[in-house]
Amino acid sequence: MNLSFHIVVCAGIVPDPLQTLEPVIGDSGPALKNEMLLPAVLDPWAAHALYEAAHLARGHAGSKVWLVSLSPRAKLQQVMMTVAQKAPFELVALDGPAGGFTDSAEVAGALAAAIEAIPGLDRSRLLLFGGWESAARGAGTTLAMVGERLGIFDQFQGVDELRVEPDGSLRILERVEGGRHQISRCAGPPAVLGWATGSLAEPPNQPQLGMQNMRTILPALQRAQSVALPAAELRFVRVALPSQQRQTRIVRDVAAEEVAREIVDWIRG
């Protein structure tokens, strides 16, 4: 039985979550102030999906990973300098906005079209990976719609673990309420997996891998097509950052239980 996969990871880029973000209303609608100045990272949930994809591909000879991203090309190029050192993949780049103030159906349409155009992609072996949520598009709906447009109806969200059984079926742990997992079984690809955090740590930088990846990344960036996302039908009633409260205190040599208790007390007020 051929247990190799064609894994497509959909991954946007987002401003580093620790940056000071501020929504503003511009001529073309809402945006994040100075977004292009801010350092960007691969959307954290999608990054986990990429690490899981690389791990799965490594364990199943003949598998291949593509990373499909709709992002401003210049920023994507910058993010790739780091991401390319983390896992082997081939980039499919679309040049467009990544700020989150876009219609997820439009984004899904563009991503699905790009995936359909990947040369040599075997849809019968396709696993569509991405984040179950997004730091930019919190609804986490884009991946599901990409899957639907590609005609993939076995969809799993909040995935923390994927195990390939000897018969080729997939055993999937999805997060459910109460901090528990639901175990699902699926006959095999094609399937959509929206990853939560998975269980893999961020891989260390591997310079050789980066150089290897860059041979395909640069041409992909150079031929990245510009994607216009018509927003005429889209109206934002209100945009706001979640309110936040921060209090800093330095402690040393304090037991984790004590720190946890203090945080709980602080949350309870």
Binding site: D16, L18, Q19, T20, N34, M36, L37, L38, P39, A74, Q77, Q78, M81, T82, Q85, A201, E202, P204, N205, Q206, P207, Q208, G210, M211, M214, L218, L221, Q222, R246, T248, I250, R252
Partner: protein, 606 residues
């Protein structure tokens, strides 16, 4: 049973560059243009025959726009590389529109001013209406030519680096890899044969741990050290090949700045550049640069000749921005980010060996910063361009990167350049500061106005005084002892308590612009310290720390990453470190080692 030894991976390339800043930007831009020029014969790789020349640059920080500073620069060399440069293409860049030199009086009465300066202040106040004293400041009618940055640019170096990097990568001729610190050089038979990247999967002391991955050895015919004023590669080159006779690298400054979003009422034209002297302490110089979209960089330089052993750049910066002359612009603004770096200020006397077999040095680590004109970015860029021109010449002639060939091509270019000419003028410009603030200013003026022909004699650098000596007449020794004991009990630095006892008022934190040092670490920056790497700040001999009564490293630490501890050396928390190197410059016993390190806290707006 011992763990099996992992083989260190090896990669062959042609040119490896450590650090991506303005110097590497100039080097790679010039080199990449030649390599990508279809009208010229291709230059083939020797490391990988059949492929074009392989050029790789490794940057320590997680992105190519982190860990650097904002600046005003005449941009002569940068404009030569980009003749059609439009500042609007670079985020946060603006042409210099107006420039002022301002003397700030002390509105609080807490700064330590020499008697002559106090007298001058009294005279200025007495003649205030005639001289135009306003907001406790005197705008000087004349700005010396050597300080002027007319026709220059106000830049965020982080954004400038990103802009340069994006263009470089799109050429496909060179590769830049952030998040990849270079730990060491590889030396074989007196020749630098490449570099070794940092080990991963190690404990805090560098011992192999889970997931150990030895740092790759990157072999190259030419290693370019462009890793700045406190770079590990530069230091290893000094250790391996020595320094020139007369080498003196003991002058430095810590530059710290805020990036501030100005409030609506602030009347400041984009491109405005304000240089200040006189406050918060006479030795501390300051600046305010206005970027587009109502963003300003405001900062200070705490120099090596400022001998307060409890020196703290952060607290002084807070007092600085609250000076009435600046506060009228900054009040109501919001802190967007914060950052610090050290600056090599020894000028030509701190110049290391610029080239040797298999290596060359460019940028600030090669002592390119001009201490008279307060300019470093443009000079660094120029040195990178010069090295690239030399490298292209040698490659086209098929000559190896030997010391002789690099001296005849690169070093000769440096010696004939405006960077060198101006460095010679600046060589003794700051000697007078070791005699005092006024003689220091006189020395700078004399060197600047006579183009370096005349100078005030200096005085040998003195070690920092004790706290009791520094605060003599202001805080009694027994009270210093009480403050010291109190702070030791609370495991906190001394500077806040000492400054407040010396008359500096507490900072009224407002949560927007005036925030605690700890909170500033989280404003606009990126806290990052990957697991599995060794601590990059190492206290070499713990007993020396235990004996040290000064702990200047704790007081000066830009990120409060070095914290006091009752017994033993201070505690280092690498998550907070911005890799400024203040601990290295300030340790009176040279007991601090700053190694290559990933992570740290950075802002892409600096």
């Amino acid at each position: 049973m011992s763990e099996p030894e992992l083989t260190r991976p090896v990669m062959e390339t042609d040119i490896v560059c450590a650090g991506f800043g303005p110097a590497a930007g100039g080097f790679l831009t010039t080199l990449a243009r030649r390599l990508a020029d279809p009208s010229k014969p291709p230059i083939e790789s020797r490391a990988m025959p059949g492929l074009p020349l392989q050029v790789v640059c490794y940057e320590r920080a997680d992105d190519i726009g982190f860990g650097v500073s904002g600046a005003v620069t005449r941009a002569r060399a940068i404009r030569e590389s980009f003749p059609d440069l439009d500042p609007a293409a670079i985020p946060m860049a603006a042409a210099v529109s107006r420039e002022k030199l301002v003397y700030l009086l002390d509105p609080i009465g807490a700064s330590r001013r020499p008697a002559a300066l106090r007298l001058a202040d009294r005279l200025i106040r007495a003649l205030g209406s005639v001289l135009g004293l306003e907001h406790e400041a005197l705008e000087l009618a004349w700005l010396p030519a050597f300080l002027k940055k007319e026709d220059g640019l106000v830049l965020s170096i982080a954004q400038f680096n990103q802009w340069v990097g994006q263009q470089l990568l799109m050429t496909g001729a060179v590769q830049i890899w952030p998040g990849t610190p270079v730990a060491d050089i590889v030396v074989e038979n007196g020749t630098v044969a490449g570099v070794r990247l940092m080990d991963q999967g190690v404990d805090r002391h560098g011992k192999p741990a889970a997931g150990y991955q030895p740092g790759m050895e990157v072999r190259a015919a030419l290693t370019v050290a462009a890793d700045g004023p406190v770079g590990a590669v530069g230091r290893r080159l000094d250790a391996a090949f020595g320094t020139p006779e007369g080498f003196d690298n003991r002058e430095w400054a810590i530059g710290m700045k805020f990036v501030i979003e100005l409030a609506g009422q602030a009347e400041l034209e984009t491109g405005t550049v304000i240089h200040t002297i006189g406050y918060p302490e006479p030795e501390i110089f300051g600046f305010l640069y206005v970027h587009p979209e109502r963003i300003a960089s405001v900062g200070i330089f705490v120099p090596s000749w400022f001998d307060n052993p409890a020196r703290t750049a952060y607290r002084y910066l807070q007092h600085y921005i609250r000076h009435p002359y600046l506060w009228r612009y900054l009040e109501g603004g919001r802190l967007r980010s914060w950052g610090a770096k050290s600056i090599r200020e020894s000028g030509r006397r701190g110049e290391p060996k610029l080239a040797g077999n298999g290596y060359a040095r460019i940028g600030e680590g090669s002592a390119s910063t001009n201490v008279l004109t307060n300019s470093g970015v443009d000079e660094a860029w120029a040195t990178g361009v010069m090295l690239a021109e030399a490298v292209i010449e040698l490659l086209e002639q098929g000559k190896p990167f030997t010391r002789e060939n690099l001296e005849a091509s690169y070093v000769a270019r440096r010696r004939a350049s405006w960077v060198e000419k101006e460095a010679r003028m600046a060589e003794h410009a700051r000697d007078g500061f070791h005699r005092g603030f006024l003689s220091g200013l006189a020395g700078v003026a004399l060197a600047g106005l006579t183009r370096g022909r005349l100078r005030l004699p200096g005085r040998p650098r003195k070690p920092a005084p004790s706290l009791e000596e520094y605060f003599r007449g202001r805080i009694p020794p027994e009270e210093i002892a009480r403050i010291r004991a109190e702070c030791a009990r609370q495991n906190r630095p001394l500077h806040d308590a000492l400054m407040e006892r010396a008359g500096w008022p507490p900072i009224p934190l407002d949560g927007r612009l005036l925030v605690s040092h700890q909170d500033a670490l989280l404003v606009g920056g990126k806290v990052q310290a990957p697991p599995g790497v060794a601590d990059h700040v190492v206290f070499l001999y713990p007993y020396l720390c235990e004996e040290c009564g000064m702990r200047i490293c704790v007081e000066i630490c830009s990120g409060e990453a070095i914290q006091p501890r009752a017994d033993g050396p201070p505690v280092f928390e690498r998550e907070k470190c911005v890799h400024c190197g203040a601990c290295v410059w300030n340790c009176p016993r040279e007991n601090v080692l700053l190694e290559a390190g990933a992570g740290g806290l950075h802002s892409a707006e600096n």
